[in-house]
Subunit: 220 residues, 2 copies
DNA sequence: AAATATTTTTAGATAAGTCTAAATTTATAT
DNA sequence: ATATAAATTTAGACTTATCTAAAAATATTT
């Protein structure tokens, strides 16, 4: 089934929103995520429902169907592969890749993605550490902890930064925090939730709670 | 100035058509090139004229303006850089790259093209041998001869195959003719315009006039 | 140079995707 | 449990890009 660019974006948004909040996804949430108006979302929901990629009951929010999930994951796969390409091959920075990948993900050519995957040597995660779905839409889930919930003295490896805010990503670049960086929690400040951490062997620095929350680690 | 995908395609078509036939480009020619109807072309001409990228007088055909030419060349630059990428980095065949590049050429990001150019080591021609315009829209013109107009005994190097017909490109692949191949004209058959040629040191083979016409060479 | 043919434009319609404003449904609070 | 607030949908309109059919302009032929 061939979906339009707009339809693909709606589907991707619904998939991501469904991941976080359980239950159906609300019209307003989709509108906010896509910078559009609730009225436009209602229209599109009818269309996507007719095509069978979502289950939609008026006023009741939407769920993504199995077909829909497969399509969303294929778009996400493309997005993440392109991100890897931009970062590793073209030398883009962490915070620059998202918007370009947002365009590239809609290029229609299964062969292109197959060859890109091969060229990149079959990566399993994107530059943010998010897992890349395989051709069949299967995705590996790993148990991650937010830096803000780790205990003093624990050690982990950065696996994911589930946020594309450029200011955040630039800051992480600045303090030389990358995917795979080893993080040791030195101190937790009770007052404001900020943490003192060492990145690899660097001098420990403080991170605010707001930032710590966005950094996902796997324990080592 | 930001043009839509459709507008960019019209401009590119007008640029290419203007290259061949001198004088203004006709509505019908554009319609045929873009697989659309003359009525649609008329509409679009008014729009592009309002934007100042073409000069258009009703019933008189169009000419591309300097601004328009610059935009067309930037799209052509992107198209040809992506073709090089697909062929050299991803291992696509000659005949497979055109349609994908047709999509990739519309990705909006000057930085992406800059970095892609660097990654490809600043190529000057695309896989068809067509020159790649530089950032300022300047394009190198080389004097080329069609294989069909070369004399018996002359030797040349393949620089260009100004046609994206997959069947043609597959055939050239088949007979191991590539860009840069050395061609010696052994015999010209008067009856049907076919030619006997040697590609490098291979055994000479016959090519029909229709094919010979499409192969551009520079003399060596 | 008239008549005919071709090319091009206009008029009116359609589909996708979006919007605002108004109506309707569901949720919340007194 | 009713009133108020919030969320959602509908109605109607707009833009972009396209189409068909008809009208107008230009070219060609006899």
């Amino acid at each position: 089934m061939e979906l339009s660019l707009a339809e693909e974006n709606y589907l991707k948004s619904i998939y991501h929103l469904a991941e976080q909040a359980e239950g159906g996804v609300s019209t307003n949430a989709i509108a906010e995520d896509l910078n559009t108006k609730p009225a436009s979302v209602s229209d599109m929901m009818r269309k996507l429902s007719d095509k069978g990629v979502i289950e939609y009951k008026k006023y009741k929010g939407v769920q993504i169907s199995d077909t829909g999930k497969k399509i969303a994951l294929s778009v996400i796969r493309k997005h993440r592969l392109w991100e890897v390409f931009l970062l590793e091959k073209l030398g883009f920075k962490w915070d620059e890749v998202h918007d370009i990948a947002e365009q590239l993900e809609h290029i229609k050519s299964p062969l292109l993605i197959k060859k890109l995957d091969e060229f990149l040597d079959y990566p399993s995660v994107d530059p943010h550490g998010d897992p890349i779905p395989n051709e069949d839409g299967e995705i590996k889930i790993q148990i991650n902890y937010s830096l803000s919930e780790m205990e003093t003295g624990s050690v982990g490896m950065v696996t994911n930064v589930p946020d594309s805010n450029p200011a955040l990503l630039r800051h992480l670049d600045q303090i030389k925090m990358k995917l795979g960086s080893k993080i040791t929690v030195k101190e937790k400040v009770e007052f404001d939730g900020s943490v003192l951490i060492a990145i690899g062997d660097q001098t420990p620095i403080y991170l605010s709670g707001a930032i710590a929350e966005k950094i996902m680690l796997k324990l080592t």
